[in-house]
């Protein structure tokens, strides 16, 4: 049997422990071990962004991170974006702008867009497109996604007052 | 009489005619009557007792899904087209 690593990490604000093999990706650990299937698998080589999460606040393709590397770190996934009070403005904007069709890329886009708006509250269209280039969507042609991010920025500005 | 448009590669059987008129109030009757006038046609259109699955039939411009049961009107146009699928 392969050696198992004991990983202690924080996922969406809560401490989590799991066992993994060295070859397991963070994506596998999230989906298979922790049951957090909101993070999607699209390509397994870092070219689609469907598995985007943040690791210590940085966007990552979780398929390109080893699960064992998560030890002592802080992970945020799509499951942690909404709060008991309701949807995050980015999520609400995606709904209202019809910025999703099949929805498989949507968690990745939302995690990426949220990270952008937390750093840059008022990005230009060009900046939004640059930031989201690592997330592929095959359904929408991106138009409504870009609009949703612009819309979400406005909503977040409003909340901040 | 229904007006039957003959698929281009079957026009050898109709002496080159693009369309022919035959009686019949269902597709089954139309094909049966077509065979009577232009022998060999049935073998090209049917597989066993049914319409060849490679074909679809349009009656008056609309693809019909009833196969040989499809009703054919007195002045109807009948077209045999390749079966189609969508994405």
């Amino acid at each position: 049997m392969a050696t198992k690593h004991h990983v202690v990490t924080r996922v969406n604000g809560e401490e989590v422990e799991f066992l993994c093999e060295a070859r397991h990706s963070l994506l596998e650990a999230l989906r298979e071990t922790l049951g957090l299937t909101g993070t999607k698998e699209g390509c397994l080589d870092g070219n689609c962004g469907a598995c985007t999460v943040t690791l210590d606040g940085r966007l990552m393709d979780s398929c390109l991170v080893l699960a064992v590397e998560a030890h002592g770190r802080e992970i945020q996934t799509i499951e942690g974006v909404a709060s008991p009070q309701g949807l995050h403005p980015v999520q609400q904007a995606f709904l209202e702008e019809a910025a999703l069709q099949c929805g498989i890329c949507t968690p990745g886009f939302i995690v990426s867009a949220k990270a952008l708006l937390e750093r840059e509250p008022n990005p230009t269209e060009e900046r939004i497109r640059w930031w989201l280039a690592g997330n592929l969507c095959r359904c929408t042609g991106y138009d409504k996604i870009v609009r949703a991010v612009v819309d979400a920025a406005a909503r977040m500005a409003e909340v901040k007052g | 009489m229904a007006i039957v448009y003959i698929p281009a590669l079957m026009r050898g059987l109709t002496g080159g005619a693009e369309k022919v008129t035959v009686p019949g109030s269902s597709l089954r009757q139309v094909i049966h009557n077509l065979e009577a006038v232009y022998p060999g046609m049935q073998a090209r259109l049917l597989q066993g007792d049914d319409l060849s699955p490679a074909l679809s039939v349009a009656v008056d411009g609309e693809v019909v899904r009833l196969g040989l049961l499809a009703p054919v009107g007195e002045q109807s146009e009948v077209h045999f087209l390749p079966a189609m699928s969508g994405g």
Binding site: T3, H5, R23, G46, N47, L59, L64, A133, G134 | -
Partner: protein, 296 residues
């Protein structure tokens, strides 16, 4: 993918010891954006993965006007382009760091890893060569330095010997009246591999009318990133003009010895070598003159 042993040393010596022990069967993990993909794709198997992100020397990013820049081998791209000093003094490095993958890759991929992957099209390598970077290598023997243009020896191969580890990249301080620019050509606008790339640095005369010297590096036109000394030589002492730039571009075209593959043809790559050299030189000159130039 076969399982392997994962180790995360805290020092260079510990890392080297772990590498020496397993030889070819051990690999270094920094960002992993090439390594993990290759491993998963069955390109190779290994017994041990040595995660060097916990080694302080590999995480340093330090600029000093006298010493220049030290980039730890595991420093991810975003730290390069978010660093104000780097942006001010080494904009060509930022050109490269900004276009490696998308934002997710840039959160992890390092220039050191990009160099060790030794791909002919590695985006940071052309910029590093133009900027006269040297690779600082630790190993079982003496620590040694190798100019980046000598680092790659074949596709996927480098001068790193058994147990050796790339610790950092050292870039000399930019010379007065110098400018550098890195450009690549890709069919899309992001998330792509260079069909051809060009990294260029130029030093201008005090009156800004002629080239004192220039360094031109090309990517994806040979088995390794190519340092085109002929192009630099063609510019030395020449007036700053389209004619001079054309001479360098022609030298770049001549030096290119590309192949046909799914990304481009020989003819296209030779042509692009000249086009990109031209454009990168224009950008380098503009930067030397203090003008703003966009990355790509």
């Amino acid at each position: 993918m076969n399982d392997f042993e994962y180790r995360a040393p805290a020092s260079v010596s510990e890392a080297v010891a772990l590498l020496v022990e397993k030889g070819e069967r051990a690999r270094v993990l920094a960002g992993g954006t090439d390594l993990i993909v290759q491993l998963r794709g069955g390109r190779f198997t290994l017994d041990r993965m040595v995660d060097v992100k916990g080694v302080p020397e590999l995480n340093q990013l330090r600029y000093d006007a006298a010493e220049g820049l030290v980039v730890g081998a595991a420093v991810p791209c975003y730290r390069i382009y978010e660093d104000e000093l780097v942006a001010a003094h080494y904009p060509a490095l930022v050109d490269a760091a900004r276009i490696i993958g998308g934002i997710q890759i840039q959160g992890r991929a390092s220039l050191g890893g990009n160099l060790c992957n030794a791909s002919p099209s590695g985006d940071s390598i052309g910029a590093l060569i133009a900027l006269e970077a040297t690779a600082v290598i630790a190993g079982p023997g003496e620590t040694r330095s190798v100019p980046v243009e000598q680092f790659c020896t074949a596709p996927g191969r480098s001068v790193l010997g058994p147990g050796e580890l790339l610790v950092a990249l050292r870039l000399p301080p930019p010379k007065p009246r110098s400018g550098a620019h890195y450009l690549r050509f890709i069919p899309r606008y992001e998330m792509d591999i260079a069909i051809v790339s060009a990294g260029v640095a130029a030093v201008l005369s005090p009156d800004m009318s002629s080239f004192v010297s220039a360094r031109v590096a090309l990517g994806a036109v040979a088995p390794t990133p190519l340092f085109v000394t002929e192009a630099g030589a063609a510019l030395a002492g020449k007036p700053i003009s389209e004619e001079s730039i054309a001479l360098a571009a022609e030298a770049a075209r001549q030096a290119a010895r590309p192949i046909n593959d799914m990304r481009g043809t020989v003819e296209q790559r030779r042509h692009l070598a000249a086009v990109l050299t031209t454009r990168a030189l224009r950008g380098a000159v503009a930067r030397a003159k203090g003008e703003q130039v966009n990355g790509h």
